[in-house]
């Protein structure tokens, strides 16, 4: 029997204010290195750091992380340092999470010149994410010419969104000509937590109606999942639509966009920059874009309270909407840094949701510290789970599957 060649995949997962990374040995999924560069670029009250783990052993490094390129360089430096001490610390392949592939790609791709060229055309589609990820791909392409790269797309899981939810009420000829539809994002994460939830509860995913809340310090989205498929997502054609995020406005009257451009004489680029980079939590709270800073100040700062209320209100609105289209919710999932990290946030989101069958156990919620956990009260009809997401794991699996398909040595 032919033995499978093992490959170490360095997964790079750019959030708008973070860079998560892992070296995962495939097949098998053994994690060799993991880490996260936190508070990259964004205006926050804390210092930028890299949390770096080799075989579970943690090292925290303070660094100046002005942008994602600086974060990647610091990450590669740390890996190179460790490689000198441990032969197992190495990587053979890069795999990137890519946010918005437009109409160009609908599956995981190996990067070559042609793919790079097409990716470049997608940069304006996700003004915050695509350019920074593209920059990292370009950097790896130039600096590591011998190492293959794969891009795994965040949108593929949402190809099943139902037409009544994916269609904007625009002229049909515009929709068709420019491929405008709700694309949805965070698909890698929503898919991962859906599978983990069903595994944890020993339920068949094809029978579950799930609402997944991916609440991050960068982007956030809510996803309605029925029979293992995404049927709606709060993000839209771009990641600007939906919930209020760290610096993104989320849902807004399109008339306001025109008003700003007409009245302020802003260019479309200036307006887009304002809605993507100066709005959301940062826009309302002003002194930080991180909801954890908002929660810390909530009792002493009126603006913090309003920011928190605005954030919670929007998450609750999407949960209720998705509960209506699913008819009943079997599982409500909280994931990513805010979803797993803030009991106050989960409590506020679940408050007075009994009419939808959602009742949180306040004690369990307060005590939660890590891992997969059921926080629902015994009288809750829906299970309420906290599941730390592991997009990198999913990305490594996808990249390895593509690698094996295209390389006879595997």
């Amino acid at each position: 029997m032919k033995s499978k060649k093992s490959t170490n995949i360095l997964v790079l997962n750019c959030g708008s204010s973070s860079l998560k990374y892992k070296i995962i040995r495939m097949p098998g999924g053994v994690e060799i290195v993991r880490g996260e560069a936190e508070r990259v670029g964004a205006k926050t009250q804390g210092k930028s750091i890299v949390r770096h783990f080799v075989f579970g052993k943690e090292r925290i490094v303070e660094a100046s992380l002005g942008d994602h390129s600086a974060a990647l360089k610091k990450t590669l430096e740390l890996i190179a340092d460790d490689a000198k001490k441990n032969k197992e610390v190495k990587f053979d392949v890069f795999a990137h999470r890519y946010v918005h592939p437009g109409a160009f790609f609908s599956k995981t791709m190996k990067v070559d010149k042609a793919v790079l060229k097409k990716l470049k055309d997608t940069l304006p589609l996700a003004a915050i994410h695509n350019p920074i990820i593209y920059k990292l791909i370009e950097f790896c392409y130039q600096e590591y010419p011998g190492i293959g790269q794969f891009v795994v797309f965040d949108t593929v899981f949402h190809r099943t969104i139902l037409p009544e939810f994916s269609t904007y009420a625009l002229p049909m000829k515009i929709i068709k000509k420019y491929h405008i539809r709700k694309i949805g994002f965070h698909g890698i994460s929503h898919k991962y937590v859906m599978e983990e939830a069903c595994k944890f509860l020993k339920k068949d995913k094809s029978l579950q109606r799930i609402i997944s809340c991916h609440l991050g310090t960068g982007g956030s989205s809510v996803c309605a999942i029925s029979n293992g498929k995404s049927i709606n997502n709060s993000m839209g054609f771009t990641p600007l639509e939906g919930l209020m995020m760290n610096t993104r406005c989320g849902d807004i009257d399109p008339g306001v966009v025109f008003y700003i451009m007409f009245k302020e004489r802003f260019s479309s680029e200036e307006t887009e920059g304002m809605l993507n980079n100066k709005s959301g939590i940062l826009g309302i709270f002003n002194s930080s874009s991180d909801l954890r800073d908002v929660i810390r100040d909530i009792d002493k700062d009126k603006q913090a309270k309003m920011t928190f209320n605005m954030y919670v209100r929007r998450v609750r609105a999407y949960i209720a909407f998705y509960a209506l289209i699913l008819k009943k919710t079997d599982i409500l999932i909280f994931t990513d840094s805010l979803g797993t990290g803030s009991s106050a946030l989960r409590e506020s989101i679940c408050k007075n949701m009994e009419f939808l069958g959602v009742k949180l156990d306040e004690e369990k919620n307060k005590k939660y510290s890590q891992g997969v956990s059921d926080l629902s009260s015994s009288c809750s009809e829906s299970k309420i789970l906290v599941i730390p997401t592991d997009e990198e794991n999913m990305i490594a699996k996808e990249a390895y599957r593509e690698l094996v398909k295209n390389d006879s040595r595997y």
Partner: protein
């Protein structure tokens, strides 16, 4: 007699009501405002409508009261000064409206004129609903915030159910709006700062990813004017189906034409989104009240929406919903959530409110 007036900058629609509440069989339409360009012609025209009856008041429906008019207002000189301040906010609408109000005032100096604003009801929306997540300092200059719409209908709808009810009020009119109301206070409203936000209409898009605007401008070189025109006038039902026909006629094609099916399915999904938003802020649902000129036409749509959320405890009666009263209950007696159709017209609501106001404060009018 009270005359209720709806002026849309092109034409005036007038309904006359006797004090008993009896309405004239038809509304009167002045198609060209030139017909009433001076005091004499206006007086002649109004006399033609009212006959020999004494006109107790004129009541205008006004689309927006901005931050200034938080309840109905009787015209006097202070009103006119305040109203003029709204010109910056609605530069096309307010000057014409102001001129029309002044024309009535100058012609009928002893007759009170009451103005009802479609936005007043929303003046105390909660902050977290009112504001968009834009840079906060921007509000100080721009005053951008949700102003809402159909406040006259929504407020009247809330009056049909107990104050403690958590109520979803839906108005099916040229615009469709969904409002959550608890203790007579609106807690959410689907329409925002402009009529573009919310639920699609015959020609306008409703909720939209703002990123699409930038995508079309930055990548495909659309001008802002082209997009503005597209979203306001070439989208909605007309855009999705390609049929530029009345919604009543379009609905007849439902089930027979896939484009029409999709358009109504998108429309229903948008309504559901805002119902979801409303019940999330209220923490539940006790009643639904539906009104508006298109409510009768849209009964199959209303039935389909309420049927789809029956798991909330709505036991909807089968169509047709028949009744000779203004308020028809459309849920069964055992239904946990009560749902009603309010068939009272906007003009009747305005008439009733005007009559109430005059009864409460007959001497408030400066010229009386």
């Amino acid at each position: 007699m009270i005359l209720v007036i709806d002026y849309n900058l092109k034409e005036l629609k007038i309904w006359s009501f006797k004090e008993s509440g009896e309405k004239s069989p038809d509304s009167f339409l002045i198609q060209d405002v030139e017909e009433i360009r001076d005091n004499q012609s206006l007086k002649r025209c109004i006399r033609g409508i009212a006959g020999k009856d004494q006109i107790k008041a004129f009541a205008f429906r006004v689309l927006s009261g901005g931050d200034y008019f938080l309840k109905p207002a009787i015209v006097n000189s202070a009103f006119l000064d305040k109203f003029e301040k709204l010109i910056d906010f609605l530069p096309f609408y307010i000057p014409s409206m102001l001129e029309m109000i002044k024309r009535f005032r100058d012609t009928f100096r002893n007759t009170p004129i009451v103005n009802f604003f479609e936005t007043s009801f929303f003046s105390n929306l909660p902050d977290e609903e009112k504001y968009y997540a834009l840079p906060f300092e921007y509000y100080k200059n721009s005053r951008i915030k949700k102003s809402g719409f159909h406040g006259i209908f929504h407020e009247a709808n809330s009056g049909f159910v107990p104050s403690g009810d958590r109520t979803i009020s839906i108005v099916f009119d040229k615009q469709t709006t969904v409002c959550a109301i608890h203790n007579r206070r609106p807690l959410s409203i689907s329409l925002g700062y402009t009529p573009l936000e919310g639920i699609m209409s015959r020609r306008a898009c409703g909720d939209l990813d703002p990123g699409i605007v930038f995508y079309l401008m930055n990548i495909h070189n659309f001008s802002i004017y082209e997009i503005d025109e597209m979203l306001k006038n070439n989208s909605g039902f007309v855009g999705l189906t390609g049929y530029d026909i009345e919604l009543e006629d379009l609905l007849k094609l439902y089930g027979k034409d896939s484009k029409v099916d999709l358009a109504f399915d998108v429309y229903k999904a948008q309504i559901l989104k805002h119902i979801g938003e409303g019940i999330s802020v209220m923490g539940g649902l006790d009643s639904v009240v539906i009104s508006g000129d298109n409510a009768a036409i849209f009964t199959p749509v209303i039935y389909s929406i309420l049927k789809s959320i029956s798991f909330l405890g709505i036991h909807i009666e089968r169509l047709p919903w028949i009744g000779d009263k203004e308020l028809i209950r459309i849920t069964s007696e055992e239904s946990k959530v009560r749902a009603y159709i309010n068939r009272m017209s906007l003009s009747k609501i305005i008439f009733c409110e005007t009559a109430n106001l005059l009864r409460k404060s007959p001497s408030k009018h400066p010229d009386l």
